[in-house]
């Protein structure tokens, strides 16, 4: 199976922590952008038309901020060019402040099955502080509009003066809205973002406080039937994100648009990061790849481990053997030995013990040759 990722780089405004491909001031380039995106899709799909696609993910930026007809157009194009499974999971990221019933009507036409709502927090003061355009009320309304769909919510931890109570309220708010899947991300202060200054000024919780919050969230969600299936992702069983699971299983996916990454036929490539460059390449009949790496040998094996160990089921030893034709326990004998205190090792799988999932980098680098 393969996934499709489509990047929509437009937002009403930029959040203070954002260092992704999002360009609030370039909304006027929407038409040109989607024209190029469609062009890219046509060419790439001609290359990779023999695959069956199981998931589509519209990420951003704010996909719900763009004119929905472009989403519809993209879906039509996909269905025309390639085989999209009937049971495909088709996700659209939504900012609670940018959704209405008219848009939903078109999304429905497009065949969207799942909405991932950027709630981040239910605390209006915090939302304002990190530059979100919506408030708690908008989220409640959005959930009402999207009722009946498969809903997910993004929640942030590690925000200014955030308390466990505040995180609990955010989770309650999401669950009351009918959400069956929650992603919990700790704020990462990236150099160059406005929030980085606050980070330098010590206004953000330290890593111990974030770890406390995270542990609290894991426990609280577990009590509500949300199982952690990946370090940052929690779901009522059966509601896991298939699109994301495909990343962690090292499945193939094709990404379109600014900054989008792909992994097809053993090659990883990522597009350029600005709209102008992207448009320029496509209009000149070229792909807009900024980087391209063929992943093979040890690299491929390491990727398998690095991705699989993020999940709670861990690395499937049998899948490893069928993918690489070698034995997992032999290939990683040293790392398995040095890290054994932190791993659950069985005949069929190797996973990071629950209590160490949040310090996984330290464990994973031991597997790097």
């Amino acid at each position: 199976m393969a996934g499709i990722y489509i990047h929509v780089p437009f937002c009403a405004s930029k959040c203070s922590y954002c260092d992704f491909a999002s360009f609030p001031k370039e909304f006027g380039k929407q038409e040109a952008y989607f024209a190029c995106l469609y062009k890219e899709m046509r060419s790439r799909f001609a290359e990779y038309k023999d695959k069956t696609y199981e998931t589509v993910y519209f990420g951003g930026g704010t996909p719900s901020f763009a004119d929905p007809k472009f989403i519809l157009g993209a879906m039509r194009l996909i269905r025309e060019c390639v085989k999209l499974s009937d049971s495909a999971e088709i996700t659209l990221e939504v900012n609670p402040g940018t959704i209405d019933r008219n848009k939903l009507r078109i999304y429905k036409q497009a065949g969207i099955t799942r909405f991932s709502i950027g709630l981040q927090s239910s605390d209006d003061k915090l939302l304002k502080k990190i530059g979100r355009i919506h408030d708690r009320e908008d989220f409640v309304k959005a959930c009402d509009i999207l009722k009946g769909y498969n809903l997910s919510a993004d929640v942030m931890i590690g925000l200014f003066d955030q308390t466990k109570e505040s995180v609990k309220d955010t989770i309650d708010c999401a669950i009351n809205g009918g959400v069956k899947h929650i992603s919990v991300y700790a704020l990462t202060p990236e150099v160059g973002t406005p929030i980085y200054t606050d980070y330098l000024n010590g206004e953000l919780p330290d890593s111990d406080e974030v770890a406390d919050m995270y542990e609290y969230v894991v426990k609280y969600l577990d009590g509500l039937g949300f199982k952690r299936y990946e370090v940052s992702n929690f779901a009522i069983p059966g509601f896991e994100s298939r699109h994301n699971l495909n990343y962690w299983r090292r499945g193939e996916y094709i990404g379109f648009g600014v900054g989008a990454s792909s992994f097809m036929n053993g090659r990883r490539f990522t597009n350029v990061f600005t709209i102008d460059e992207y448009v320029h390449f496509l209009l000149n009949g070229k792909y807009a790849e900024a980087s391209s790496d063929v992943i093979e040998g040890e690299d491929a094996k390491f990727e398998f481990v690095m991705l699989a160990l993020r999940t709670s089921v861990g690395a499937d030893v049998n899948k490893y053997r069928s993918a690489f034709g070698s034995d997992f326990f032999t290939d990683f004998a040293d790392a398995l030995k040095s890290q054994k205190a932190y791993l659950d090792i069985s005949a069929d799988s190797v996973k990071i013990k629950d209590e160490y999932l949040y310090v996984q980098n330290n464990i994973i680098v031991a597997f790097m040759k």
Partner: protein, 603 residues
């Protein structure tokens, strides 16, 4: 070129405190005599250039031969012999001075007499040199030429009435300096017919010619084909080349008394041509060497280990090569439980140590771990035996020790009077004993203290600079050994003793030092998967304890649009970081941790 008689030779050096303009004046003299437009340095000197530039100090320069036609119409040969600009190399300075008849003393008119000014002047006077004072930087607004003159007269007793007032940087009054060299500095005394006595004042190893000895011929002469020997080594060599510095190596048929030049004789190691030694002829030897030879003894010792244990042989090669050019560097292989195989190296001082360490890393591209420097202690055992201990972890059991002695220095500290309080406080903290305080003038005080050397290597310079806002200058000489109440401070990481972190301290200081080191290690050791107790102990008794908490969050955020490559790169970076760490048992320690224990804020 007309034959120049020896009364027309001037051999001199330039002495100054750091930054007072020694190198700039040398450049001007060379320019004015038209010898070369810029200082032409050979490869050996370029090697140390980065370090020199970074620190604003001159480590070593090649001698330069200049021709100058003076106002008396005669042509003179000037041999300028440069001197290293740091206390670590004071013995080398003294030998360079011994090769001269005169010295130009450069004093910065904005700063006056400083510690090194004095130290170098005393060295020059010991070597009976004629001193020509020169007041530099007179073009600066804060310059006080008259005050500086008065200060030199007071502090040193030199007549400054005729001292040239110059700006080496701006090229003011350089001509006057050249004339004064002719009129004030004496020509060399000559004895061409006597048996050869050539003073080695420097040497370096050349891959093709072998060791190049920089010499001042005091008596006799030497030519290609002569069989030579030195007084300190029993080896004999055939001279393959002699010559002068103009400024590159320029061969000549012979060198005779009064001249400065070089001798090459296919000598394999600088050990055989120690600085200060005397070269003579095998056939017609001098009866005794020139006075003043001292074996340069290392005073600071540190363990040097390859970060990657498999690089031990590369490190050995590197040290051997450096040793070829540096007779004062000593080494012996040692084995540490924590760090594996490495070397205990001996250095002339902290700067020398730093230079060698950086050269190993830069020129030989070997990453190393160096342990905190130590001095050499004399340990008197109950058996009556006396041993030298340079590696704290090799200190015998307390029950076997009768008593210990530690090296002591005499320190001269120059400072504006405002900072006397803070300096005394610092010296007090460093177990110093007050000897004397004198006013050099109304703006400068000289404090003399007796201090244990092991306190000097422990953060003394930084402490002095920060307490006096950089105004104080400092110089010292070793004065011997004194009995002292010393103990070994052990450090434990995660319950295991770490021999590479052990230090020897005065008993009174053990508690504070132990606590400070534990705190410092807590700062530099990154959090790991488990809690790491850090303990300081004396004689098995824990005196301080800190804990590095277990790591609780180490995870990469969301992969937007599935950018796995970026994630992988971040992990690769983390892996690279780990490679810079040394594994001690289960604990990973950054290589700089071993030195960082030196940089502890005094309380």
């Amino acid at each position: 070129m007309a034959e120049t008689t020896k009364k027309n030779i001037r051999n001199f050096c330039i002495i100054a405190h750091i930054d007072h303009g020694k190198s700039t004046l040398a450049d001007r003299l060379i320019e004015m005599t038209g010898q070369v437009s810029e200082r032409d340095m050979d490869d050996r000197l370029l090697d140390s250039m980065d370090l020199e530039k970074e620190r604003g100090i001159t480590i070593k320069l090649t001698p330069v031969r200049m021709f100058y036609t003076a106002s008396d119409g005669e042509e003179y040969i000037f041999n300028l012999i440069d001197t290293p600009g740091h206390v670590d190399f004071s013995y080398e300075v003294s030998r360079s001075l011994a090769a001269c008849e005169g010295a130009i003393l450069v004093v910065d008119a904005t700063q006056g007499v400083q510690a090194q000014t004095l130290a170098n002047v005393y060295l020059a006077l010991e070597n009976d040199l004629e001193i020509l004072p020169v007041i530099n930087k007179i073009d600066l607004a804060s310059a006080d030429p008259d005050g500086t003159k008065a200060e030199i007269e007071d502090a040193i007793g030199l007549d400054c009435s005729a001292a040239p007032l110059i700006s080496a940087k701006a090229g003011i009054n350089i001509k006057e300096v050249l004339e004064k060299i002719v009129t004030m500095l004496p020509p060399p005394k000559c004895a061409d017919e006597a048996p050869l006595k050539a003073l080695i004042f420097d040497s370096y190893y050349d891959n093709f010619k072998g060791v190049i000895c920089f010499v001042r011929i005091k008596e006799g002469s030497v030519k290609v084909g002569d069989r030579i020997k030195t007084f300190m080594s029993d080896k004999q060599f055939d001279v393959t080349e002699v010559g002068v510095f103009s400024p590159g190596l320029t061969p000549k048929s012979s060198l005779s008394s009064g001249e400065v030049g070089y001798i090459a004789a296919s000598i394999k190691s600088v050990q055989d041509t120690a600085v200060g030694d005397t070269i003579t002829l095998v056939d017609n030897p001098a009866s005794e060497p020139l006075p003043g030879y001292k074996q340069a003894l290392p005073v600071v010792f540190s363990g040097v280990y390859p970060l990657d244990g498999s690089k031990f042989n590369d490190l050995k090669e590197a040290i051997l090569k450096l040793k070829l050019n540096d007779a004062s560097l000593t080494y012996e292989a040692e084995n540490s439980m924590a760090l594996g195989f490495g070397f205990r190296c001996g250095f002339l001082g902290l700067l020398h140590m730093e230079i060698i360490q950086q050269r190993i890393e830069r020129e030989f591209d070997i990453e190393i771990i160096t342990t905190a420097p130590s001095v050499s202690y004399k340990v008197h055992l109950t058996s009556g035996e006396v041993i030298d201990v340079e590696n704290p972890s090799r200190l015998p059991e307390p029950s076997l020790i009768d008593y210990m002695e530690e090296p002591i220095i005499l320190a001269n500290i120059y400072s504006p009077p405002d900072y006397v309080g803070p300096i005394m406080e610092l010296c007090q903290e460093k177990r110093g004993i007050f000897l004397d305080m004198t006013y050099v003038d109304s703006k400068r005080v000289r404090l003399q203290y007796k201090l244990p050397l092991n306190e000097i290597i422990f953060d003394f310079f930084d402490g002095l600079k920060s307490r006096t806002r950089g105004y104080a200058s400092f110089d010292y000489e070793l004065s011997g050994y004194e009995k002292s109440d010393l103990v070994k401070l052990d450090m434990y990481l995660n319950g295991d003793i770490c021999d590479a972190l052990a230090i020897i301290v005065h008993k009174e200081k053990a508690y504070a030092r132990g606590r400070a080191i534990a705190e410092k290690l807590k700062e530099v050791i990154p959090r790991q998967m488990f809690e790491i107790p850090i303990q300081a102990a004396v004689g098995g008794k824990i005196i301080a304890r800190e804990t590095v908490k277990a790591l609780r969050k180490d995870v990469l955020a969301k992969c937007y649009g599935g950018d796995i490559t970026r994630k992988k790169k971040l992990l690769e970076k983390q892996k690279e970081g780990k490679k810079k760490m040394r594994r001690l048992g289960t604990v990973e320690i950054p290589s700089e941790a071993f030195m960082s224990i030196l940089k502890i804020d005094s309380e």
